[in-house]
């Protein structure tokens, strides 16, 4: 168990995967998720912790020790790779026991610990198989077993669930969380899947182009995105981002006007009137009503015409046009609307955001 600190960490390649000036502390026992689109540098950062990539600026400390120049095997970290990286020529048993063998643990101890670890992950019956004889989920668990058997100070996971099918992914997610609960090992988890990030991370770190955009508890980040990138990256369907101008207490979009509530007006005071801003409203904060509705409090009513209806079972995604822009709303599943129908969109501005020209959330 350990604390991992990134101090002014940088890595330049000239290509993708570069990392700039990362400052971050991962607390002991924390489950931290690095989230971002591919090529944002999250995997590079992870590999830098592992020692698989060189740190070209700053330092990484594990439990106060600078590990920049420590061999991967001596950092007391374990990693689960996206493709599991199981040794194809070894049995499950040998795969799991390999790290111990390399650290010269006596044979009988290895056997005992392998058995124990395998039991934790439900791999008892599979010990003599080879990786190619296992299903994706089983392989994933073997990879996990191989990393936990060393009882490392830090777990590093590089998109460990991305090769599993949807159902298994959900199940394994839970298992991983349980495992973390039990072992309380500091974990850095890399993913591009926001659901994973939201559900698993104690905190998430959103990255883009090698730069950390925001760090915080998942809900905080979701509710208070630091910039348009974070706002857009989290949440599905995507947040509605409409550009427009601030005009006193109103936001003037392309063909529509939204009066600001007090929260947004407060935020808007940070910039001069008339400047370009973006209004962000999440689809779940938009209600679709048939017939006219009065605006009240945080709620603003806009007239719209439905252009697309997407039922996803639990919800209904409705795209409707107001003025010259589209809004995406997420409403109750069985709302009787169809394309072409005139509706009223009720925007709940309680959780809406205004972003400045530079993309920053004006509220922060």
């Amino acid at each position: 168990m350990a604390q991992v600190e990134f101090i002014q960490v940088g890595k330049s390649y000239g290509e993708t995967g570069a990392v700039h000036n990362v400052n971050l502390t991962v607390d002991d026992s924390e489950f931290l998720v690095l989230l971002g689109p591919s090529g944002c540098g999250k995997s590079t950062l992870l590999k830098m912790v592992a020692g698989l990539e060189d740190v070209t600026a700053g330092e990484i400390r594990i439990d106060g020790r600078v590990v920049n120049y420590v061999k991967p095997g001596d950092r007391n970290v374990a990693m689960v790779f996206q493709n599991y990286a199981l040794y194809p020529h070894m049995t499950v048993q040998e795969n799991i026991g390999f790290p111990l063998k390399m650290t010269k643990v006596p044979k009988d101890q290895i056997r005992e610990r392998v058995t124990r670890t395998a039991a934790i992950l439900g791999l008892d019956g599979l010990l003599d198989r080879r990786p190619e004889q296992l299903s994706g989920g089983q392989r994933q668990r073997v990879a996990l077993a191989r990393s936990i058997i060393r009882e490392p100070a830090v777990f590093l996971m590089d998109e460990p669930l991305s090769n599993l099918d949807a159902q298994l992914r959900v199940q394994t997610r839970e298992e991983l969380l349980k495992l973390h609960e039990r072992l309380q090992t500091t974990t850095i988890y890399v993913t591009h899947d926001q659901i994973e990030a939201m559900t698993m991370g104690h905190r998430i770190v959103v990255m883009r182009s090698g730069v950390v955009q925001q760090v915080g508890r998942p809900q905080d980040v979701y509710d208070n995105p630091a910039n348009t990138f974070v706002a857009a990256f989290l949440g599905s369907p995507r947040i509605n981002l409409q550009t427009g101008k601030l005009d006193g207490a109103t936001f003037g979009g392309d063909g529509f006007v939204v009066p600001l509530n007090s929260k947004l007006a407060g935020a808007a005071s940070a910039v001069t009137a008339g400047s370009d801003v973006a209004l962000g409203v999440r689809p779940e904060d938009i209600e679709v009503r048939v017939g006219a509705v009065e605006a009240s409090g945080d709620k603003i009513a806009l007239d719209g015409v439905v252009s697309l209806v997407e039922p996803v079972g639990s919800d209904l995604y409705v795209r409707a046009q107001t003025g010259n822009v589209d809004w995406m709303a997420r409403t109750e599943a069985r709302l009787p609307v169809e394309p072409g129908q005139a509706v009223t969109l009720v925007l709940n501005l309680e959780h809406a955001h205004l972003f400045g020209e530079d993309g920053r959330n004006l509220a922060s």
């Binding site: 940088g10 330049s12 390649y13 000239g14 060189d54 070209t56 600026a57």
Partner: protein, 457 residues
Amino acid sequence: MTDKRLSPFDRAKLRREAVIDYSRHSINRREFMFKMTAAGVGVAAATRIGDAIAAPAPAMGVKRWAKQADATIRFVKGVHAANDAEIWDGMKAEFEAAHPGITLQPEFYDWATMPEQLTAGYASDDPWDVVYNTDQVLARWVSEGLIADITALANDAAWAGEREAIAPFTWDVVNIGGAEFGVGVLGAVFNIWYNLDLFEAAGISEFPTTRADFREAAIALTGDGVYGFELRDSAANSAFWDWFPWIHNDHADILSDDLSTQNVSPNGAAGTQFLGDLQSVDKVTPEVGAYDWDGAAALFAAGRIAILHDESWRTTAWDAGDGLPFEYDVAMAPFGEDGTKQTAMGNFGYATISEGSENKEAAWEFVKWFASADVINPYAATIGLQTVRVDSVPEYNNQHLEKIQAELVPMVQPPQIHVNWAEMVRTMWPEVEKAYRGEQSGEEAMANAAEIINGLV
């Protein structure tokens, strides 16, 4: 600027690795390391090369490795018979019985790769003590200082009788620059075989001795699946051996008598033209290049060639078992144009002592033994080769070999002894081959050959 001295690869590498905070200083270090390694390797290499170059070239004298027992003589010769190794097992025993204290180790080279094997052997730390060298290459090795001067030993009064028993022409061959470098022992004669049955059927009773008669006979003998004549035609099959008598008989040779210039042009033209006409005009032979050496011999043995220019030792195989189903005899190429000269080509081998041998005296004992009548005659009889002794002849159980020894060996005109002889023959051969194919006249062939030879003198 340090950057300048880095290779483009290194610079690219640095860029890619993007060791951004790398100061010049550390680049210097890295480069230094790199250069030191390179320098170390370079020095090591240079030392080795230096050693090798500084070492006395033919690595003679000092032996640094497992010194052989003082009296072991390593002798190498070309393979003369399929069972040569077995024969030499017996001869080894005889030699050792007669020379207590000297061990004989007979070894063999393969004629096809003789240059490689002998070059390697001479260049090694441990050359053979005695090498059977043919007259073609003797001069080359002598010029490179590989062969011991045995003038004193060969002119030792105690050996004078034996010396006189060995044909004088061989002493001319081994005399290079006034010193003697070997003792003649064995040889093959390149002669003509002819099928008596076919001759009889064609109504020819005597083997022709003039070119006109020869041509007439060859034409008469050709037909019905039988070729009147065949001789070797490619350099790969040493075709020049069969060609030489035809130009020798016209008083031509590769070089002038004093070896200072070529002597094929125009003297060699007539014989070459004659052979070319037989093949490309009269077509009494198989197409040029159709048969290799053994193929032609086999064809003769099958009764499909009437006159075959080939080597003397063939008869051993032909007379083995039931023999050939026809009678055959041996002859020489006809006289030259002026009708004054008739020769056979012969290729003889000489026992030479290596300059690098540490046991020259023991080696000399072996050479004397090998050249002695009691040894060389039975051996020559066994393998079907000719000897160069004038006091006695091998007891062949083959009448052809007897005839060759008695009648042809004295008529032999050997190759000229010149450092570049082999190269001259090899390089000019394509010109003769062209004449054989009728692509150029004998005269043109000889003019071109003359140029090549002069370039190598």
